[in-house]
Symmetry: C2
Subunit: 231 residues, 2 copies
Amino acid sequence: MSAPRPIAVLGGTGPEGFGLALRWAQAGESVIIGSRDAKRAQDAAEKIKQKVGPSANVSGNENLAACATSDLLLLTIPFEGHAALLKQIKPAIGPGSIVIDATVPLAASVGGRASRTLGVWQGSAAQQTAELVPKGISVVAAFQNIGAELLNGEGPVDCDVIVCSDDPNASQIVRNLATKIPGVRAVDGGKLENARILEQITALLIGLNIRHKGHSGIRITGLPVAAYDIA
Amino acid sequence: MSAPRPIAVLGGTGPEGFGLALRWAQAGESVIIGSRDAKRAQDAAEKIKQKVGPSANVSGNENLAACATSDLLLLTIPFEGHAALLKQIKPAIGPGSIVIDATVPLAASVGGRASRTLGVWQGSAAQQTAELVPKGISVVAAFQNIGAELLNGEGPVDCDVIVCSDDPNASQIVRNLATKIPGVRAVDGGKLENARILEQITALLIGLNIRHKGHSGIRITGLPVAAYDIA
């Protein structure tokens, strides 16, 4: 089961969004890079084409325009721009869309450390998203725990992606999308409220990267084979 | 580098403490099981001897007495008894002791779900411990993320143990202790404040266990070999 629709990666000129867009373009998915600046988005798309080859189905556009042409939207933006972007794109989010949130409320957003998080009133960045999108839009939390360096590196990543959503169908679509990244196993992490734990884990991994000079990720062990979505 | 001193496992009659005590007894460590009830502690110690063999260096005692004969104390108690136990044992914690905290503030402690946590004023159960122990006592957060079923099962566990403390020496002692459990790699997770993330991860893993009917754990990937303490 593939995602036939294009994925709009908002914040796709940043390292995390770029890395995800690259991996999906490599897997043959159709990707639209979104940015505040259409030119920067197009440049990023061009860079992906140079890496993947001319057959890569990737384009770039301003965030609002990128939203308007996709119903599978991914947020990979610094937390300080999170609420503002959602308010801006809200009118362009079509009915039945899925908003995937990879945002982490790092304390770095307000001048603190990247190994600490801010408290978000709703519980997590993803739950803040759920409050800010139009009614009936499914929000899915995922991809917080794969570092940009791994995504932009070569070869498979040694990471699981835990996917949390209150919409089981949307969760399944995103788990399928996650398995397009070589090495990734996707795990249904239950309700969207669990995003608060996924977001915390990112801060822990960043702390481990600083302390041990690595590019850490996590694997979930001990679940039955059926619990893992694998490509 | 072994821990020559006995480990007092307070709450060692519960499944988590019992499992850790069992693993350490199997590894030849000296273990004192602590409980509110000395008889129950002695029964648990006897059960471990039956499993490990008569050479097992394990005994049982009331919590306060167990503390008084050890300077390596492990808390594996339900969060609802956490502060009360610490207040009770405080006079018995000798200078230079290390208090290892595996407690997780699950919402189940107040009738909520085991897949959710309570907010702890100090940030985490382990940080609450740091506030309640005598001055100069080192607190180390560890072992939250290895489930009791795995510890009480046979063979190696497929889990990493992240160890957080503001005392690097105490952290190293506990990492060495963690590697006595077959399969475990210990990872220095930095300061004690990071315990709040370790405790959250437990709630996530419990949720995954319920959802997928497994006994989940985590592995940290992507760090240099030197970052992992291995037996």
